[in-house]
Symmetry: C3
């Protein structure tokens, strides 16, 4: 790692700078004021995804840190790959809208990262980002420009794509030694609290995510409203279902951290359509319920029977709800909530996204599996100390109270 990682990272950065030097110029200012939407999406990528994954008790540095690294690489590569499909006279012109789309392509990688979280090296994640964004950009071009399907909130092109890509990678790099789990693969109280920071910023800014590339001011506002209510409804059903499925009738933080977001994923494809707020709430409440059921019943099944280890349960938050979102858009087309919607194109978009994700993920998994890239040994999975210097010296206040100390009284 000591040599390979710096060489790879610097090599990639040099290549990217050269490509930027050759092709990338400023575009004119965006037609609409999208910078606030961009900032919200940006926070979701780095704080939302980054902290959501810090629930792992010994993997917080990697969760937020490698998320940081992968996203920083991904947004640069995303500008190039997405720009490639939209070149004008051999130039890529970028504005805030391009940055939003670059962050979007990164989101797909971070979703996949969640599936394999804890079982890969930073080098593998850089490689995965390069391959996944390349494939993502091709699929995005296919869905948006060729099939001309609608997927403004990207249920299909980001969420379902990222989830199934990640699951395919996970299947290829399956670790038999971890088939009964790993002692590090859990949370502690404070790590669950840190994860809630991620959850909340994702939840709060999802309306921006789903409306960022809407075509008109009206569509943008519909997308904001629909997402807001899909999330609210999904939150209620997620809490309810969590208590229903738990053995002792208690809430499970894994559900509250993740399944409460499923409504935002599922309403994505239809967010800007005229589905009415109650339509968004139907989609959202269904997603919240199904997501919790997935965490409870599907993820263990995937791990034990399908040999797919899905650390963050991305299938339950992005996979199935993404599928749901695509299906909702097919139904919306059938119901003709707007003109220019075609059930055939929506279905094709969904099918292609998932198929390309699975094939592309399996292929990328084979690349990642090459021993050259290094990966953490089985016993050191879900453990920061493989790749980070972890502080272990003098105690802090949190943990020192059971040691003899100077007499100080508590205040509260």
């Amino acid at each position: 790692m000591r040599i390979k990682f710096p060489i790879l990272a610097i090599f990639l950065e040099v290549v990217i700078i050269i490509l930027f030097g050759l092709f990338v110029k400023y575009d004119t200012v965006d037609r609409r004021q999208v910078y606030p939407l961009f900032q919200d999406v940006h926070v979701m990528i780095f704080v939302g995804f980054g902290f959501l994954m810090t629930f792992l008790k010994k993997y917080g540095f990697s969760s937020v840190g490698i998320n940081f690294l992968v996203a920083a690489l991904g947004l640069q590569w995303g500008i190039l790959l997405q720009g490639f499909w939209h070149m004008h006279s051999n130039e890529i012109h970028i504005n805030i809208g391009s940055m939003i789309n670059a962050d979007f392509s990164t989101a797909a990688v971070l979703i996949s990262f969640g599936a394999v979280l804890g079982r890969t090296s930073p080098i593998q994640m850089l490689i995965m980002a390069i391959f996944e964004i390349t494939i993502f950009a091709c699929n995005e071009h296919l869905v948006v420009s060729v099939l001309q399907a609608t997927d403004t909130g990207a249920s299909m092109t980001i969420h379902a794509f990222g989830a199934y890509f990640g699951l395919a990678v996970a299947r290829v790099i399956y670790r038999p030694a971890l088939k009964n789990g790993h002692k590090n693969e859990g949370s502690v109280y404070n790590s669950d609290m840190f994860a809630m920071i991620g959850t909340l910023f994702l939840w709060l800014f999802w309306p921006s995510f789903n409306s960022a590339i809407a075509a008109t001011a009206d569509a943008q506002q519909r997308a904001i409203i629909n997402t807001y209510f899909a999330l609210a409804a999904g939150t209620l059903t997620a809490f309810a279902t969590s208590i229903l499925v738990e053995g002792r009738g208690k809430l499970d933080m894994v559900h509250i951290q993740n399944a409460t977001l499923a409504g935002g994923v599922a309403v994505g494809s239809c967010a800007d359509l005229n589905i009415l707020p109650f339509g968004a709430m139907l989609i959202g409440s269904t997603a919240g319920f199904i997501s919790v059921a997935g965490f409870k019943y599907l993820t263990p099944f995937f791990a034990s029977k399908l040999k797919i280890q899905d650390t963050c349960g991305v299938h339950n938050l992005h996979g199935i709800p993404g599928l749901l979102g695509g299906i909702a858009s097919i139904i919306a087309a059938a119901l003709q909530v707007e003109n220019n919607l075609s059930t055939g194109m929506q279905a094709a978009a969904l099918g292609c996204s998932i198929a390309i994700a699975l094939v592309g993920g399996a292929f990328t998994g084979l690349i990642l599996h090459l021993p050259f890239w290094e990966q953490p040994p089985d016993q050191n999975c879900y453990d920061d100390s493989v790749y980070w210097e972890v502080p272990l010296e003098e105690p802090s206040y949190e943990s020192s109270f059971h040691l003899p100390r100077e007499p100080q009284q508590a205040q509260h």
Copy 2:
């Protein structure tokens, strides 16, 4: 809980979806660009209030999680109840401004939640949200449309209302067994750090909260400026007073987490008025001082003599400063800082808000007190493990250094 909570939550969501289906449509796009203001308010509701209450060392999951649940329900119910007062041809038309107002109605509930934090069940909080928002919407209609008082930053209709409603509930559900406190009712180092996340996001975005429903661009800018300076001045006096009142001349995190916000509450009613920045700072600095004094002297008095247990000290942050804000608006009317202000209407608005809050809160407290809803037993108050699965397995890095471990050196 295992059965009642899911049934209640799903029942409420079904009713809400049906009502949305019958009545709620999209409105035209907002006249002014209010989405950035909405996003700031939204962060305050979920991250600000949610994390501010995580100071309780064993109640962090509930503080942020039940805040999340209650707010998700509240904003949906708020759209309906506030929309009821503004229906057009039997329809409720919603835009971003409606979502801001829905978040506002939720704020009142979360303030009340702070008073009873740790001594209620999630079921009780769902019920409180339903009743409180209903009463809130009626009072808001009274103050804004009937009395036509000014209260742009809602010192009276949200802060004072939420605080006195919550205190009335607290009085009704008073627990004699906890009259000398509870061993879980305190903080630890990290929980105080998490709470500062909440404090800062509330502080930073309060100018948006106080300006979100301002009528003109000029009024909006005045509200932003006035709030910014009221908070800054109040922060200085809060720090100063904290050291003055503490037995050993040290800062108390409870004050820094809460009283530094009092300026924003107190300037609320006058935020958009022409009170000049120094006027805002007078209000703010007074509020910071009074708030700390309240935490130090009033809260213990309330608990021991008035049988009002106020976990978060909402009376000191929202109650008295809200009162202060209403009084400031009466003075502003008397000084005629703007036309169309009437001391009589301002005073009536303040009186009504507090009276309706007290009566409504007492009534709601009686409802909550019905054994059917369940509540945590005395010894399990302020304890997440009643309603949550709390992780208690293998140690993390934070706490493992005093156990024998593999040789790893610290870096820093």
Copy 3:
């Protein structure tokens, strides 16, 4: 402290309120919609800087709390001092743009605070804020209005200035007893996690910081784009260099928390210029590399040979990258990337900023060194308990699992 701090804080607030009452009025609404930019900068000042410094394991309350206090004072004083240079008919007219600039002046103080973090008292920091902002405003006037140099992202006037001012203060208040470090001067796992909250919000919102005072919409967009890519490129090189320089080939959280931001500092002076995205990435990637090298090799040298104790390594994040930014602007002027750029003026601006910072900082250090202000004793440096009541009672869930407890099973 018990008496001096409240007296000083209240005295300062009273003086400020009087000066506001005499001079400060509302201006007309800003020409461009800058409130979203202001909010981003505001979050950087209070959450970004505040939490970045919480890496210190026993100093989190002070890091985020004294940052809060100093910033609240600083923005008020900044309005006055900067406003003094722009008075109209004996009045200071303020709008959102003024608030952005006030936050900017505060940033310089918080950077200096980072150099002396842990070794000062709150009183000293209030004094430093008053002096530093006064000197900052003079230098800013010199650079922007007299020399008419360009420094839109303030590499010179905020970052280099704040760093060298802080280092000069640190030199004057050098503590020989701490020449081999201090046992409290390090992090623990959770404090490093809290610090990442600060890092990420600084990183995410830096495009707003660098574009907030851009003159035109085009320049603003260029600044956003250039900063976004400078940061991304610098992040890759920071990660790569961190692994290269660490003895065991692992990532060091200090580098990831700080050096990943260097690109934003270094591109500051050129952010709004037509340097092309790849130009920004060249600047950023260089800064990331140099910053890590500074943390590894320069900071120990400064402490042992130059007697400059720099707690947060501000020289590596703000000092050298700020210098780099000034130099980049000299090169940009030489390359004539835009008209009206003069290498002479850029160089003069850089020289003046650093010279005034060093002299001003030394002078301020002498003031701070007066025993009257109090400072923490050597053995209590980097320790919250000197100025805060620190909770030390009953254990939380995090630390209680090794004590005998009621049988509760983990869930994950």
